[in-house]
């Protein structure tokens, strides 16, 4: 608790730097990552982040210390080289993109490891600082780092915001962009540069191995909440910033604990929550709306049953007959009857059930849609009358009034369905 207060009241200026740093670079990476996620190039980011390791080591070797400028430049150059090589290999060999990305990733990383061990054995005391680049240590962000990393992050965010139109063209419709005269090749290059930059600055906090998460996960999670690009990137940025701060907090409380893994865990938790609980697209809400829908279909079928009773000159049905009509579904039938009674669609007298006025009208609507669709299947899709029932049974619940109108006019306000049964209209007497 003490730690918690100390950290989140930001008394310590070094914590302020760290938090600002992680928020900026988290938002920057999430921002770029969302575009590359939409571009279906998420794993290129993974390759670039592994590929940066040799550059970091070379920068370190040249400077002889952990100089942010040398390290950022080295990292940028090796990231750019990896990106260039991937697209060159893609154009010039018959290897698949998947094999190319995996090869580039592991070759650069392997070479990085070689350099890392060489530095290690050289006995440079600053070596410990270098190890942080593998799993990240946000706590080590200092004021001087902040100007470079934070500055680059702000630059990335500004670039993406200003050229939002161009980059969304790149992601959604590059051919159209080319056709209306945008230099799409150039835009791709700039986008790649931004991507490399965002990886370069993210490494300090997350580390090369896990950097991919900062690029991929926020966008994938945010995608579940919205379809609009503007909202999408902001949400991704928020996810990323929140996870970044939480991860930093953990590695502040537990010494020796690298930041990167915790940021990734928090990001993944947010993503999991999104996958499960996001409205509309989430697994749970899809499940729930399916349940609600199934309930509605049962209710509709019950209304239809009562309506058919009326057609057979029975003013209503005993409840037992209804249960029998839906074998093994007594529970649902009870529930439906309760709901229908509450909506005043049916009246229950002892155990005899009758449609009310509004119930009749609703039942007619469903039967009408069912029989209209049957007729449509029969007339327009040549399906034999004895085969049209099943699909109509499913579609009667989802056809909108607008579709109903279209069907009516297309079929010329028919009187009978393919089974020679009456298609009921609202004004029909019952």
């Amino acid at each position: 608790m003490e730690d918690f207060l100390y950290f989140f009241t930001f008394q310590d200026p070094s914590i302020v730097f760290v938090v600002i740093g992680i928020i900026l670079l988290g938002v920057g990476s999430a921002y770029v990552g969302t575009y590359s996620f939409l571009d279906k190039k998420a794993l290129l980011g993974d390759a670039i982040s592994h590929a940066i390791l040799p550059g970091i080591c070379l920068g370190f070797m040249l400077a002889g210390e952990k100089n942010p400028l040398f390290i950022v430049s080295g990292a940028f150059i090796s990231g750019a080289l990896a990106t260039f090589l991937s697209s060159w290999l893609n154009k010039n060999t018959r290897l698949s993109e998947d094999a190319i990305i995996a090869s580039i990733l592991s070759i650069f990383f392997g070479f990085g490891i070689v350099l890392l061990t060489i530095i290690q054995k050289s006995g440079n005391p600053e070596m410990a600082g270098l190890n942080q680049f593998i799993f990240g240590n946000a706590i080590a962000i200092q004021e001087s780092d902040l100007y470079i990393y934070g500055g680059l992050a702000v630059f990335i965010i500004l670039c993406l915001t200003i050229f939002q139109k161009e980059f969304s063209l790149l992601v959604f419709n590059p051919d159209y962009g080319r056709a209306i005269g945008f230099p799409m090749g150039m835009i791709r290059v700039i986008f790649n540069i931004l991507m490399i930059l965002s990886v370069v600055i993210g490494i300090q906090a997350i580390g090369v191995v896990l950097m991919a998460a900062l690029l991929i996960t926020p966008g994938a999670a945010a995608r579940f909440w919205t379809d609009r690009l503007g909202v999408l990137v902001i949400l991704a940025g928020v996810f990323s910033a929140v996870s970044g701060v939480l991860g930093t907090y953990i590695s502040f409380v537990i010494p020796q604990m690298p930041t990167g893994p915790w940021v990734v865990v928090f990001l993944s938790i947010l993503a999991l929550i999104s996958f499960l609980f996001a409205p509309k697209k989430g697994v749970l809400s899809r499940y729930i709306s399916r349940r609600i829908y199934l309930k509605k279909t049962h209710r509709d079928h019950l209304l239809k049953l009562l309506y058919k009773g009326i057609e057979a000159d029975k003013s209503g049905l005993p409840i037992e007959e209804i249960y029998e009509a839906f074998p093994f579904q007594k529970k649902q039938s009870e529930q439906s009857i309760k709901n229908l009674a509450k909506d005043n669609f049916i009246t229950q007298n002892q155990s005899f059930i009758e449609l009310s006025i509004s119930g009749k009208s609703e039942a007619k609507r469903i039967v009408r849609l069912h029989r209209l669709w049957e007729l449509y299947l029969n007339e327009y899709m040549n399906i034999a009358p004895d085969h049209v029932h099943d699909t109509a049974e499913k579609l009667e619940h989802i056809l909108t009034p607008e579709m109903e109108e279209l069907l009516e006019s297309r079929l010329n306000f028919p009187k009978l369905d393919p089974h020679q049964e009456n298609i009921p209209r609202d004004h029909d007497e019952l």
Binding site: K41, L43, N92, A99, I107, I113, V264
Partner: protein
Amino acid sequence: MSFDQNAFLIIITAAMIAISCGLLGVFMMLRKMSMTGDAISHAVLPGIVIGFFVSGSQRGLEVIIGAGILGILATLMIDWLRRKARVQLDASIGITFTLLFAIGIILINLLAYKVDLDQECVLYGEIAYLPIDLWLTKSGLNMGPRILYLSLLNLILVTAFIILFFKELKVTSFDENFSKVIGIPAGLINLSLMSMVSYTTVSSFEAVGAILVVALLVVPPATAFLWTRKLKLLIQLTIVLGIGISIVGYYLAYLFDSSIAGMIVSVAGIAFLASALFKSKSFLSRFGTSRQPESLKKIV
């Protein structure tokens, strides 16, 4: 530079690991699943850590089982994300392996005092210590380097797997739908291949590190693919490359005093890039006699 018994042991072990990885890698590449292989070899980490924790100082079957379970779990999680949550494939892969790897690293740090495993070992292994990590029987008999046996067992199992299921692997990699139609259990074959990849990752990670396993899985097959259009030759070439990079990598590492595994991968990388340059379309059209297949391709 010397050729002593230790060098021989290290090279033999490295070569065996490279061959096991390469054999599986050929099929991973042909299925366009190299990145899935990458994801699996990251994702098995928590299984390895838990296996170490459970088995204590005795590194035993628990580790392999733990990793095997995690490997399959990763495959299923990628599949779940794709099908149920409807996340696109590349993102599913990325999310899965980063999460599982992160959990592995956290576990290592949390269990640091109880588990004889550190981050560096996970990353790049230490094949150099192989000759002193011996397998002692209960009666105290020295059987030689432990990892040598692990790799040998791994190689035998991988080879047996490839030989037994060669026909099935071939047809499912080329045309999955057709294989399903003729009644080959494509899903099962796929899951077995993934299990073999996770097993190979665990078996090899102490020597070359979990991440460099990926390199051996991917780079030699990709390099060989540039040189041949025949499956048998592709496999043979991959094996030769595995042996070659182990020998050259070892001596270069010796020369520069660096990580052996890292150097092996770097050598593989140089071979790959040189092959790509030599076999690239632009190089062929500029310097070589433009070979018939390339020109045929354009007509098609």
